[in-house]
C-alpha cells in the first residue's frame, strides 16, 4: 500500500470537514464536521505511525481521540447554552460581534 493513498483520503475527509464547518447553519452539524476533520487527522497519524514502524502514531491518535471526546462534551454544552439563550441553534443568529 502506498502511504499517499491514506494521506489523500485524509486530505479529502479534511476538506469535507472544512466545507461542513464553513457552510452548515446548525451548530451540532458544525461540531460533527469538526469531528470529521479530527478523524482525518487520526488517519494521518496512524498512517505515519505504521510507516515509521512505531507506536507513537497510535499513541497520539489516542490522545486526539480523548481530546475530541472532551471537545464534543464542552462543545455541546456550549450549544445547549446558546440554544437556551437565543432559542435557536443557528450559528447565523450568533452575531454579537458584528462590526
Amino acid at each position: 500500500m502506498l502511504l499517499n493513498q491514506f494521506l489523500i483520503l485524509s486530505a479529502v475527509l479534511f476538506g469535507c470537514g472544512i466545507y461542513g464547518v464553513l457552510t452548515r447553519k446548525h451548530t451540532v452539524l458544525v461540531l460533527m464536521s469538526v469531528e470529521l476533520m479530527l478523524a482525518a487527522v487520526n488517519i494521518n497519524l496512524v498512517a505515519f505511525g505504521a510507516y515509521n514502524g512505531n507506536v507513537a502514531g497510535q499513541v497520539f491518535a489516542l490522545f486526539v481521540l480523548t481530546i475530541a471526546a472532551a471537545e464534543v462534551g464542552v462543545g455541546l454544552a456550549i450549544v445547549l447554552l446558546i440554544y437556551r439563550n437565543l432559542r435557536s441553534a443557528d450559528l447565523d443568529d450568533v452575531d454579537v460581534m458584528k462590526g
Binding site: 464547518v21 464553513l22 460581534m97 462590526g99
Partner: protein, 744 residues
C-alpha cells in the same frame, strides 16, 4: 547547639499554625486559640534554647585560650573583624554568627538565598517576640472571648508572629524585606479587626499607607545593599554579614562613602515609616483602633521595633554612611531626637489611655533611633529589650482596665478614675510598668535610658543628651498624669457609661459584638452571659488569664534591667555583635549622670503630682491664657501633621495640582496648538489658493475618501459571523500553503 542551626523552625511553626487555624480553627474546642498558643509556646522554647546556645558559644569564645581559629582566618585576610576593647587591652575574639541558607532563586549568576543568621541580636529578638506574643495570646483568650472573628484573630496573630520572626532570623536584606512587608500586612489586618466601623478601617488603611511611604525608601535602600556588597566583595548579594563586613571596612575595601550614605538614607526612610519616627509617626496612635492585645504586640515586640531592629541589624551601614563616629548631628540622631520630644509632648493632651501609651511608644522609639544615631548600639538594643516588657505590660494593663473597669472605654477622663480600689493587681502592675518607663531605679527603663544618655554624652552628642533629659522629664510627667486619671480620684465610669459611650468612637465595640453574637452562636451564649454580667457589675479585677501575663511582664520590667547594670554587663557581652562590626566605644556607668536622670524623672513626677493631685500651679491655664490655649490646640491637633498630609498635601495633589495641570492643558497646550494652527492656517491660505486647491487637494481628498471607503468596506467584513471568519481563515491557510509550495 541544634537550637541555633534549626532556628528556621521558630518562624515556621507559627506560620504553619496560621494555616491550621484558618483551616480547622473553627472546629476546635477553643476555636483555634489553643493551636496558636501551642505554636508560639514551642517557638518560645526553641528561642530560649537558641539563646542559651548562643550564650554558651560566647562564653566558649571568651574562655578559649590563644588563637581562635576564626580569628586567624581573618587576621590572615588582613582585616580587623574582632572588636578590641581598649580598656582591658586584649583582643575580644570574634564570635561568628551561625548562618544557614539555601538558594531560593538563581538568575543570570545572581543568587538570591533564603536563610537564617543567628547571633546575639537575633536570639534576643526571638526571645522577646515569642515571649510577648505568647503572653498576648494567653491574654487574648480572655480579652477577645466571644468576638465574632475570634478564630481569625488568632490565625492572624500567628502569622504576625511568624512574619516578625522571619524578619528577625533573616540572613539577607531581601528576606528581611519580605518579613517586613508581611508584618505590615498583618498589622493592617489586625488594626482593622473591627473593620465594620469606619474609623477602624480608616486607621488600618492609614497605618498601611503611611508605613508604605517609608517603604519606598526602604526598597531603594535594600536594592542598594546589593551594590554595597558588590563594591565590598566583588560579588553582589543581599547577605547581611557580607553587607556589614563591606560597610564596616568600607575604607579598606574601597566602598564609596556616597553609596553608603544613600543606602543609609533609604533604609532610614523605612525605619521612619515603620518605627513611627517623625514625620511619619501619625499612623501609630491611630493604630490604637485595633484590639488592645494587638496594640501591645505592635508596640512592644513586632511591627514598630522592626524598624529599630533593621537599624541595629545593618548598623555598620549607618555608622559609616552617616559618619556617626565623628559626632555632631546626623540624620538618624536628629530624627530620633525630634521624635522623643514631639511624642512626649503629644502624650500630655490625650484623654485616651491607649493614645497616651501610643505617643509614649513613639517617644521611646525615638530614644532607640537616637541611640543608634549616636553610636550607642548596645544602649539602643537594650532599651528595645526593656521597653518591650514594660510597654507590653502597660498596654495589657490598659486593656485590663477597659475590659473590666470601664465598660470597654479607653477615655481616662470620662470613664476611669479611682480604679486603684477595684483592680489592685492591674494597678500595681501598671505602676511597675510606669516606674520602669519613667526610669526609676532599679527598674528596667532606668538602666537602658541611662545607658543611652551617658553614651550620647560620651560620643560627643551633647545636644541629644539634653534632648534625652527633657524627654525623660516629660515621660515621667505624662505617665504620672495618666496614672492619676486612671487609678486615683473618684470613679467616673458609673452607669452613664453605657448611655454616653454608645456612639463614642473611643468605646471598643466589644459589647456590641457580644450582643450580636447572641443571635448567631447559641453555643457561646453561656460564656457571654457570664461575661456580660460581670461587665455590668461595675469595675472589678480581671481574671487570671489577664493578670497572669501582667505579672510576668511586671517581673521582667522589675528585674531585667539588672542584666546590663554596671559590674554585670551581661547584655553587652552576650548580644553585641563581634563580627563584621565597627569598634564602638562603651561609656562607663556614671553615678553623676544616673542621678541627674533620676532627679529629672522625679522632678517630672513631682510637677505632675503637684499639678494633678494637689491642684497646685496654673490650673486650667489653657482656658484663661490664649497663648497656652493656642499651644494646647496645636498639640491636640497633633502639630497639624495629619492636616498637612490629608488636607494640604493630598488636597494639593487632588485640587490645585490637578487643576493646574488641567489649566496648563487647557490654556498653554491648547493655545500652543491653537496658535500653531492659526499660523499654519495663515500660511496655508497663501498656499491654498495656488497649490493646494488644485494639485494636493485632489490627492489629500482622494486619500481621505479612499480611507473612508476602505473603512466602510472593511467594516462589512466584520459580520460577526463565525463561519465567515472561519472561511477567511481557511482561505488564508490555503493561500499560504500554495505560496510555500511554489516557493519550495
Amino acid at each position: 547547639m541544634g537550637f541555633m542551626e534549626n532556628a528556621w523552625l521558630v518562624p515556621l511553626i507559627p506560620a504553619v499554625s496560621f494555616v491550621l487555624i484558618l483551616l480547622f480553627g473553627k472546629r476546635m474546642p477553643k476555636q483555634g486559640s489553643e493551636l496558636g498558643i501551642l505554636a508560639v509556646g514551642s517557638s518560645f522554647v526553641l528561642s530560649v534554647g537558641a539563646a542559651i546556645g548562643w550564650i554558651n558559644r560566647v562564653n566558649d569564645a571568651e574562655s578559649a585560650e590563644g588563637e581562635h581559629a576564626l580569628g586567624m582566618v581573618f587576621r590572615a585576610m588582613g582585616r580587623s573583624v574582632g572588636r578590641f576593647s581598649q580598656e582591658e587591652g586584649h583582643a575580644v575574639l570574634p564570635v561568628e554568627p551561625i548562618t544557614r541558607s539555601i538558594t531560593w532563586l538563581q538568575s543570570g549568576g545572581i543568587k538570591l538565598s533564603a536563610g537564617i543568621q543567628i547571633d546575639g541580636l537575633a536570639v534576643m529578638m526571638m526571645f522577646v517576640v515569642t515571649l510577648i506574643s505568647l503572653l498576648v495570646h494567653i491574654y487574648s483568650t480572655e480579652y477577645m472571648r466571644g468576638d465574632r472573628r475570634y478564630t481569625h484573630f488568632f490565625a492572624t496573630l500567628s502569622l504576625f508572629t511568624a512574619s516578625m520572626l522571619l524578619l528577625v532570623v533573616s540572613d539577607n536584606t531581601l528576606q528581611l524585606l519580605v518579613g517586613w512587608e508581611l508584618v505590615g500586612l498583618c498589622s493592617f489586618i489586625l488594626i482593622g479587626h473591627w473593620w465594620e466601623d469606619k474609623p477602624n478601617s480608616d486607621a488600618a488603611v492609614k497605618a498601611f499607607l503611611t508605613t508604605r511611604t517609608g517603604d519606598i525608601g526602604l526598597l531603594c535602600g535594600v536594592i542598594m545593599t546589593f551594590f554595597v556588597v558588590q563594591a565590598g566583595t566583588g560579588e553582589g548579594s543581599f547577605n547581611i554579614v557580607a553587607l556589614n563586613d563591606s560597610a564596616a571596612n568600607a575604607g579598606e575595601l574601597g566602598v564609596s562613602h556616597t553609596l553608603l550614605l544613600w543606602t543609609a538614607v533609604g533604609l532610614l526612610a523605612g525605619i521612619i515609616g515603620k518605627s513611627g519616627q517623625f514625620p511619619l509617626h501619625t499612623w501609630l496612635p491611630d493604630a490604637m483602633a485595633g484590639p488592645t492585645p494587638v496594640s501591645a504586640l505592635i508596640h512592644a515586640a513586632t511591627m514598630v521595633v522592626a524598624g529599630v531592629y533593621l537599624g541595629a541589624r545593618v548598623f555598620p551601614v549607618f555608622y559609616e554612611g552617616f559618619s556617626i563616629a565623628d559626632g555632631g548631628v546626623n540624620p538618624m540622631a536628629l530624627v530620633g531626637g525630634i521624635t522623643v520630644i514631639i511624642g512626649a509632648l503629644l502624650a500630655f493632651v490625650q484623654d485616651d489611655i491607649k493614645k497616651v501609651l501610643a505617643y509614649s511608644t513613639v517617644s521611646q522609639l525615638g530614644y532607640m533611633v537616637l541611640a543608634l544615631g549616636v553610636g550607642a548600639w548596645v544602649a539602643a538594643i537594650f532599651h528595645l529589650f526593656t521597653h518591650a516588657f514594660f510597654k507590653a505590660n502597660l498596654f495589657l494593663g490598659a486593656g485590663s482596665v477597659s475590659h473590666s473597669g470601664s465598660h470597654h472605654s479607653f477615655d481616662m477622663k470620662k470613664d476611669m478614675g479611682g480604679l486603684r480600689k477595684y483592680m489592685p493587681q492591674t494597678f500595681w502592675t501598671f505602676m511597675i510598668g510606669t516606674a520602669a518607663l519613667a526610669g526609676i531605679p532599679p527598674l528596667a527603663g532606668f538602666w537602658s535610658k541611662d545607658e543611652i544618655l551617658v553614651n550620647a554624652g560620651e560620643n560627643d552628642f551633647q545636644v541629644f543628651l539634653i534632648v534625652g533629659m527633657v524627654g525623660a522629664l516629660l515621660t515621667a510627667a505624662y505617665m504620672t498624669r495618666c496614672i492619676y486619671y486612671t487609678f486615683f480620684g473618684e470613679y467616673r465610669g458609673g452607669d452613664h457609661a453605657h448611655a454616653d459611650g454608645a456612639g463614642d468612637e473611643l468605646v471598643e465595640h466589644h459589647l456590641a459584638e457580644v450582643q450580636d453574637e447572641h443571635a448567631h452562636a447559641p453555643v457561646a451564649v453561656a460564656t457571654h452571659d457570664a461575661h456580660d454580667d460581670h461587665a455590668h457589675a461595675g469595675p472589678h479585677e480581671s481574671n487570671w488569664l489577664i493578670t497572669g501575663p501582667l505579672w510576668v511582664l511586671s517581673a521582667f520590667s522589675l528585674g531585667i534591667g539588672l542584666l546590663n547594670a554596671p559590674g554585670i554587663e551581661k547584655f553587652t557581652e552576650w548580644f553585641e555583635p563581634r563580627f563584621a562590626f565597627p569598634d564602638l566605644p562603651h561609656a562607663e556607668f556614671s553615678v553623676a549622670w544616673a542621678s541627674a536622670a533620676v532627679v529629672t524623672g522625679l522632678i517630672g513626677i513631682g510637677l505632675s503630682y503637684a499639678y494633678y493631685w494637689r491642684g497646685l500651679g496654673p490650673q486650667r491655664l489653657s482656658e484663661r491664657n490664649s497663648l497656652a490655649r493656642a499651644g494646647k490646640t496645636f498639640l491636640v491637633n497633633k502639630y497639624y501633621l495629619d492636616y498637612l498630609y490629608e488636607n494640604v498635601i493630598v488636597a494639593f495633589i487632588k485640587g490645585p495640582l490637578a487643576n493646574a495641570a488641567y489649566w496648563f492643558n487647557q490654556h498653554v497646550i491648547d493655545n500652543v496648538l491653537n496658535y500653531t494652527g492659526r499660523g499654519a492656517m495663515t500660511a496655508g491660505h497663501v498656499v491654498y489658493d495656488y497649490i493646494d486647491q488644485k494639485g494636493v487637494d485632489g490627492v489629500v481628498n482622494g486619500i481621505g475618501i479612499s480611507t473612508d471607503e476602505a473603512g466602510s468596506a472593511v467594516r462589512e467584513i466584520q459580520t460577526g459571523r463565525l463561519q465567515f471568519y472561519a472561511f477567511m481563515l481557511v482561505l488564508a491557510l490555503g493561500v499560504f500553503a500554495l505560496a510555500l509550495w511554489i516557493a519550495a
